[in-house]
């Protein structure tokens, strides 16, 4: 166990931090599950934080000049490089503190990116930052496609999903590849903390963010972020889908602390994936056969996590 985590008791529903890192008036869509997740992330982090955003929905909707939704210091440089920008911020704080130019007080450095910024275009920058061991948290808000540019497929788009660049047709079922497993790639960097989270389980999400911030060195939290606009789902259902993804084993919640897998929520009576897929326009073209395949693969992937938890 990591010593800095031992004292952490966790947040409680009764005593949530009042402070908001983000202000109302941001331009997020109705029912945006991503900004909801981001709100929870910021609530867990508090005031002593510097946020480095990748280009994407969250960057656009929070920074319409001359306004900003951010109540904490925030920087956006480009799409792929949030982890490198965070490396620079963290290194600056380190050297300035050492030289007595900054108070000793700890400031969390957090990079935030979508699934495209994290798993596709920005993967190298994160890999570099993690390999170098910067004390930072990288948060991926995964809404499973390039939503900001108009719902194009990413490496994190799930199998079978319809996007504007993975359209189903006579010769295609939509996205033909299985969702890229970004958390596992991060685990391979041997960083002290990796976790997956869902805004439906808000205390779990906030606790994981807090732990990620508390550990020394790089930490990664992958957050499932429903997007009603891109998924063709109803805005009021965003938290419901975030919950269903966990209950159907589509998005398993777990932590990897110093290489040890811990399943956060073991799903003993899973709901069928069909329950998760229905009501999302991106999946409505799928046949029974397609859904059966997805069910089989989801079960297999979930088993892998359980086995890793046993092994480690």
């Amino acid at each position: 166990m990591i010593p800095e985590l031992e004292k952490f008791k966790g947040f409680s529903a009764k005593r949530l931090p009042k402070e908001e890192g983000l202000a109302s008036g941001h331009r997020g869509c109705q029912g945006c599950g991503e900004v909801l997740a981001l709100r929870m992330v910021m609530k867990a982090l508090g005031k002593d934080v510097i946020v480095c955003s990748a280009t994407g929905c969250m960057e656009i909707i929070t920074s319409p000049y001359p306004q900003s939704a951010w109540n904490v210091p925030w920087i956006h440089v480009a799409f792929e490089n949030a982890a490198a920008v965070a490396s620079g911020v963290e290194s600056a704080l380190k050297v300035l503190r050492r030289k007595g130019k900054l108070p000793k007080k700890h400031i969390d450095v957090v990079a935030v990116g979508g699934d495209g910024a994290t798993g596709d275009i920005g993967l190298q920058w994160i890999s570099g930052a993690f390999e170098r061991g910067h004390d930072m948290v990288y948060v991926c808000l995964d809404n499973e496609a390039y939503m900001n540019t108009g719902v194009q497929r990413s490496g994190c788009t799930p199998y079978g999903a319809m996007t504007t660049t993975s359209p189903p047709g006579k010769k295609s079922i939509g996205q033909v590849t299985w969702k890229k497993n970004i958390p596992q790639i991060m685990v391979a960097h041997n960083i002290p903390y990796v976790a997956t989270a869902s805004p439906a389980y808000y205390l779990d999400l906030m606790n994981k963010i807090k732990k990620a911030a508390m550990v020394n060195g790089p930490a990664y939290v992958h957050i499932y972020s429903p997007c009603p606009t891109g998924w063709g789902s109803r805005g009021e259902k965003s938290v419901e889908y975030a919950r269903l993804a966990v209950e159907t084993k589509v998005f398993p919640l777990y932590e990897v602390i110093e290489g040890k897998y811990i399943v956060s929520r073991k799903i003993t009576k899973p709901k069928p994936v069909s329950e998760y897929l229905k009501g999302q326009r991106r999946f409505r073209h799928l046949t029974e056969e397609n859904i059966a395949y997805i069910q089989k693969r989801v079960d297999e992937e979930y088993e892998k996590i359980l086995r890793l938890a046993e092994l480690t």
């Binding site: 510097i50 210091p73 956006h76 490089n81 620079g88 963290e90 290194s91 050297v95 050492r98 920058w125």
Partner: protein, 392 residues
């Protein structure tokens, strides 16, 4: 006392960065920039420079990291070349637009294809419009002095723009020259600690890098353009102060034997040294030839150049970049614009020379001067000419 030592120019630049007390250095190795960052990593490893040396995974990450560190309030330095500069190109524009005062050395090198590690100016000319202040060094002493000057200017709150010091790859970066390394006390007198007006600070949260809708984008670009143009007076003032502290004088455009010169060569960077030798030779032969060396490339010192070129009948402008399909080289174009419809303006002829490490010899400069003289009588077909190119 400042000491004069025989030292490789790259090492001397690293020593200048140490004298400037840079706090974050993020860099990725690329020939011919490597010796600068190797030496900096040594200085940090030996505890001679109290800085974070970040060995990043690419040039794009190098400059991205620099954006983060300078925004958080640390004095920041990087160096690159050629393909590396191209890879970080996206971030160059962001850094200047966000007014982040990073200092960077570019060891100028050719661009692929074919791949070439040798010197010309094709890398930096692709970044002509990136909104950074840019100077060119001619020798090792200048490389050191301009590095200190760059920190002084970039971090000045009245400027607050990133700055590139260009040095020619190999022909300057890898040569050993006698260089006077300034005293720490003098450098401290010249270069105050970095105190940015705005930085990332939880005590006073600001947002950097927001979205600019069409209603605001033009104004943002205009503000940037005015900022770099206004920077010229602070660039010159910082050279005035440099002279007071260190006794060496720098100007936006340097003149060499231009008094009564009819034909004036125009150069940038280390070939200026050969050009001076060529001018001396031609002067000895009685030819009225002079030389103008562009030290400040961005913002371009138009009025200073016109003043320096006063009286010249012909300008033989050397570009070390071939811009395929363009009307002429970038320096040639710049000067034609600067002299457009100016009464008594000299005739301008543009020569492309010294690509991909090819030497520009004294003879080549003589050839350019002779050609410019004859073109002044009979206009050539093309607006530029590639010097020393073989046909078969």
């Amino acid at each position: 006392m400042a000491k004069r030592v025989g030292i490789e120019v790259s090492i001397a630049i690293a020593e200048a960065v140490k004298l400037a007390q840079a706090e974050v250095v993020a860099a990725y190795p690329i020939t011919p920039q490597t010796h600068i960052v190797e030496h900096l990593s040594e200085l940090v490893a030996d505890g001679e420079l109290d800085a974070e040396f970040i060995p990043v995974e690419s040039e794009h990450a190098a400059l991205s990291t620099c954006c983060g560190s300078v925004a958080a309030g640390a004095r920041t330095y990087t160096a690159t070349s050629s393909q590396g500069l191209m890879l970080m190109s996206e971030v160059l524009y962001v850094a200047s637009g966000m007014r982040l005062p990073i200092v960077m050395t570019v060891a100028n090198r050719a661009l692929s294809a074919p791949i070439s590690i040798w010197n010309d100016h094709q890398d930096i000319m692709t970044q002509r419009d990136c909104g950074w202040i840019q100077t060119f060094a001619e020798n090792g002493q200048e490389a050191v002095d301009l590095t200190l000057h760059a920190f002084r200017v970039a971090e000045d709150r009245k400027v607050s723009l990133p700055m590139i010091v260009n040095i020619d790859g190999f022909t300057l970066s890898h040569v050993i020259e006698p260089i006077e390394l300034p005293d720490q006390a003098d450098v401290d007198r010249y270069l105050p600690p970095f105190k940015p007006k705005y930085k990332l600070d939880p005590k006073k949260p600001i947002s950097m890098g927001p979205v600019g809708i069409p209603e605001v984008y033009t104004e943002a670009r205009m503000a940037h353009d005015q900022a770099i143009k206004n920077a010229k007076r602070w660039i010159i003032k910082a050279w005035d102060e440099f002279e007071e502290v260190f006794g060496r004088r720098y100007n936006p455009v340097e003149e060499y034997r231009t008094e009564d010169a009819e034909i004036v060569l125009v150069t940038m960077g280390s070939i200026s040294e050969t050009a001076m030798t060529a001018v001396d030779k031609m002067r000895d032969e009685g030819k009225k030839v002079g030389l103008l060396k562009i030290r400040l490339w961005r913002p371009f010192p138009g009025p200073e150049f016109r003043k320096a070129a006063k009286g010249a009948k012909v300008l033989a402008v050397v570009d070390r970049t071939l811009a395929p399909g363009a009307s002429s080289g970038p320096v040639g174009e710049e000067l034609r614009t600067v002299f457009y419809k100016v009464p008594g303006a000299p005739k301008i002829f543009n020569f492309i020379a010294g690509l991909g490490g090819r030497d520009v010899t004294v003879e080549r400069f003589e050839e350019m001067v002779d050609k410019a003289a004859s073109y002044a009588k009979k206009r050539p077909k093309e607006l530029y000419e590639v010097i020393g190119v073989r046909e078969k």
